[in-house]
Symmetry: C2
Subunit: 398 residues, 2 copies
């Protein structure tokens, strides 16, 4: 590891694969400044730690003087990327996409530098709104149905007899054309984007006789061990309060500690190796490794002192058997369905997260466990609703 | 049969199927004047008798006061309809399509009335050139990949590992939108168009909440018994000279006589039944039935007296053992490949037709049969090249 220079390390830490090859890209990056791009379909208002890995990788290239390009998919977001989705995505409206984009942009600013060598930002409706039918058909003529069907995920949908909309079927070609439109040298994305990005590579060869490089980044597991995804309600979002972010990181499975350190912090690889070793030998308590991890991550998004405060609050609650700080929140009173109550009190970011929290037994009303999302709760002034050991609210008049 | 009125006869003679049902369409046609449409991608400069069946059906509706609409696919022709094609069609350029369209239009005038209740003619680039990416994707979102893949022909291509271009895959949806753009009540096409036309029916329901009727017309066999198609070189074209048209009709297989009478002439069904009976009982010579048939068809496109002349010429050559009238045609002399010679002398309309004629043993040079399209022929001034019993040319200096 010691022998790697900065660039080699950027191309290996937290990188899954590089197409056509790591060495060719390394050579090219040494010779000239490249245009390096990531496309984001803003499907929600938040960015989670899974997304942050790609943004952090972009920030490393940015520091080395390369030009970062972000494409917000306000057009492709309306089509719906089928990547990793075993059912059809509900297409977004342009209005939703634009709202989400503006929220994304401010979160991206926590990772990328918008002053020095700032990223170029595009909305892909800029070109797509102008593309007409004859051009689209010309684009499509370069690809075959068989090529597109090769995709695992489509095969899976066909087997499970789940519909593939003709529009989402073409998604890889649409994403591919974005590469051509911004004339990029490199595209970075999650491993679930590999197919789409390679179609874009093909497109660049056909249209511009140019070799676009593709860098794939591993996917991150969320708090429940499954892929981190808004639809699983298991994300840790960049805009979460320090206490909440800290607590969620403490709740990840122990075998993810090393992966989180590697992908989400600036801790050196040597030190991470030592932590890994210590965990194996049980010379360190996983809880202590996680506290260290949570501190490192929260620091990045909220600064050192907020991270410290979060650690103190966490330790107070857990080690001293305390109860979480209780916020007073206005609410209607009377009989309210548990799921609706959690949403009204804004204690979960989505109905699916709220449902999961209840079903995992983490939600209590006046100390009594709620087991069924449809259960009717007697809500009165003074009722205390608690989620896990980190969040609690006391009902006041709304 | 006697009990059918004109409309019933129009909906049964030479009709394969009607969607959703013959009775519903009959009712509707009795109540009001409808917009009845056929789409043609002009893939060549000529129209053959196979196409004429649809045009003749349209003419029948036109006479009853319904509005006929023809859509020339100058946009869809560039995409290439995969119907009935087991390999990918070579897309046409817009220039080719426009040239072909103008030739088509003049041929259509032989069947449809352009003075009284004239057809509306559209080029589908009119709307397609304006359709933009977001609209196309919206259109596609109503259909699934599985629906489109159900098509026999695509399944066949997948089995044979022949490519299906993503563009031609979408052809049915493109054709479907044409129905919406012209707001048609009925679409007529060959049975090989059934899938495309039913997608258009679906489209009309989704977009306009309207029930579009679909009428399918049987496909016609050509001079070699296979489906009549330019790519087989077995067509009888509407713009062929009377002698040639007459001779080609005489060359069809005997078991097609009744089908040709039914689909291509105005001879009454009663009389056709009698001919069918007589052929079965061998109380009529198939050659005589065919002469009758050829007369009827040539009459439609060239008038009665030209048809009679063609019959006389045919009988002179065949019955009196005569040789066909010999035209003098200029040509290079020397050793020339048989296939090239036939093409240079314009004795076949395509290389595939020329090849077929040679391989079927119909081509002679100075009385000697040519058996191989690649055979070198000694061409001199005075050499006589003969195809079948109907065409002969004598070489003169070019």
């Amino acid at each position: 590891m010691k022998s790697m220079d900065g660039l080699e390390s950027v191309l290996s830490r937290g990188v899954d694969s590089i197409y056509p090859s790591r060495n060719l890209l390394l050579e090219k990056l040494r010779r000239q400044k490249l245009r390096i791009y990531n496309g984001i379909d803003p499907t929600s208002t938040s960015i989670h730690l899974g997304h942050s890995i790609i943004l952090r990788k972009l920030a490393q290239f940015q520091k080395l003087g390369h030009k970062i390009i972000l494409v917000f998919g306000d057009f492709t977001g309306m089509v719906g990327d089928p990547s990793g989705k075993d059912t059809q995505r509900k297409p977004l409206t342009r209005r939703q996409v634009l709202e989400n984009s503006s929220s994304y942009k401010s979160l991206v600013g926590k990772i990328l530098d918008f002053k020095k060598n700032p990223p170029e930002i595009f909305f892909n409706s800029n070109w797509w709104d102008k593309v007409k039918a004859p051009e689209i058909l010309e684009m499509l003529s370069h690809f075959t149905v068989q090529q597109l069907l090769e995709r695992d995920m489509f095969q899976e949908r066909i087997e499970k007899r789940r519909p593939i909309a003709a529009s989402e079927f073409l998604y890889p070609i649409l994403q591919g054309y974005d590469s051509v439109a911004i004339d990029t040298d490199v595209e970075i994305g999650g491993t679930d984007q590999t197919f789409n990005m390679l179609v874009g590579r093909e497109f660049m060869k056909i249209k511009e006789k140019k070799e676009k490089f593709v860098i794939t980044i591993p996917l991150l597991e969320g708090t429940d061990g499954r892929k981190m995804s808004k639809s699983f309600g298991n994300t840790i979002d960049l805009n979460e309060e320090p206490n909440q972010m800290f607590g969620k990181i403490m709740s990840i499975k122990d075998d993810l500690i090393v992966k989180y350190f590697t992908l989400l912090t600036d801790v050196g690889l040597d030190e991470i190796s030592k932590i890994e070793e210590s965990l194996k030998n049980s010379t360190i308590n996983p809880r202590d490794a996680k506290i260290n991890l949570a501190l490192e991550i929260v620091k990045i998004y909220h600064g050192e002192s907020e991270a410290k405060n979060a650690q103190n609050e966490f330790e107070r609650v857990f080690q001293e058997g305390g109860v979480p700080e209780t916020k007073k929140v206005g609410s209607k009173t009377g009989k309210i369905k548990a799921l609706d109550l959690i949403m009204n009190l804004e204690m979960a970011s989505s109905r699916s997260e709220a449902k999961r929290l209840i079903e995992q037994g983490g939600v209590k009303s006046n100390g009594e466990k709620i087991v069924n999302p449809n259960q009717l709760i007697d809500v009165e002034i003074g009722t205390i609703v608690q989620i896990g050991k980190l969040k609690a609210v006391e009902i006041m008049r709304s």
